[in-house]
Symmetry: C2
Subunit: 115 residues, 2 copies
DNA sequence: TTGACATATCAATAAATATTGATACGTTAA
DNA sequence: TTAACGTATCAATATTTATTGATATGTCAA
């Protein structure tokens, strides 16, 4: 069997990439408590407006956040599903079972590896 | 209180960055069942040697894998701690509590946001 | 001891991402 | 209406990350 469904690695890479930047982690931290307006994020993070907008788009494209417009304000909130997905991915990538106590190469021979 | 310990976001970014590439996800998938020799990874992933070595280094620098040398072979395995750490990070970034049913801006005023 | 091997590292380049400043667009207050 | 506002998007540039081919290093077999 394949290790994972065909697009698992692409989706995993996308989610983890969205979380691989300190500014974006900062945004997520601010959203942990609930929905926030872009202008609040801007004040708190002290980030230039277009820069913040760029990072919000990365998060949105990865499905990490949802947005909502209200008049001239935009509100962002975390998407619970994406976090469930991320947690599940970490679990699926995590080491399973135990290493054999006697080391056996995957080709079945002990202490040898390549031909 | 700060949302997280001072280096949380740096460490989170590092771990997630290590997992943000399809080739590296592929490597991790191969290691899920236990330790593997570099040459096996090379055959299975069909990746150029220096390319594979580069990605293994990214994973190693992030603490995702440990390596071991035996004669002329190198073996890599997943580091359980890093996955526990990653899982915990996802949990800490995940939305908590409930959004207020009546929307209130963080500045306490309803329906308003910025000054 | 010499030569082939497994792997890491390096330098050059390519490709992807991020930052910045400018502009565009819808919305609201005056 | 018009002007200021909040936000998104774009183009140019800077920065980071990945790939490639070459070389270095330690190890083992002949």
């Amino acid at each position: 069997m394949p290790a994972q469904a065909p697009h698992f690695s692409a989706r995993a890479a996308q989610i983890f990439h969205a979380l691989s930047d300190e500014t974006r982690i900062g945004i997520v931290e601010l959203l942990v408590g609930g929905e926030r307006c872009v202008c609040e994020l801007q004040d708190t993070l002290d980030a230039a407006q277009s820069r913040l907008s760029f990072h919000l788009k990365v998060l949105k494209d990865a499905g990490i956040v949802n947005d909502r417009r209200e008049g001239r304000w935009s509100y962002y909130e975390l998407n619970r599903e994406a976090f469930a997905e991320a947690e599940e991915m970490v679990r699926e990538l995590r080491p399973r079972g135990r290493r054999p106590s006697v080391r056996v190469a995957a080709n079945g021979r002990q202490g040898e590896c390549c031909d």
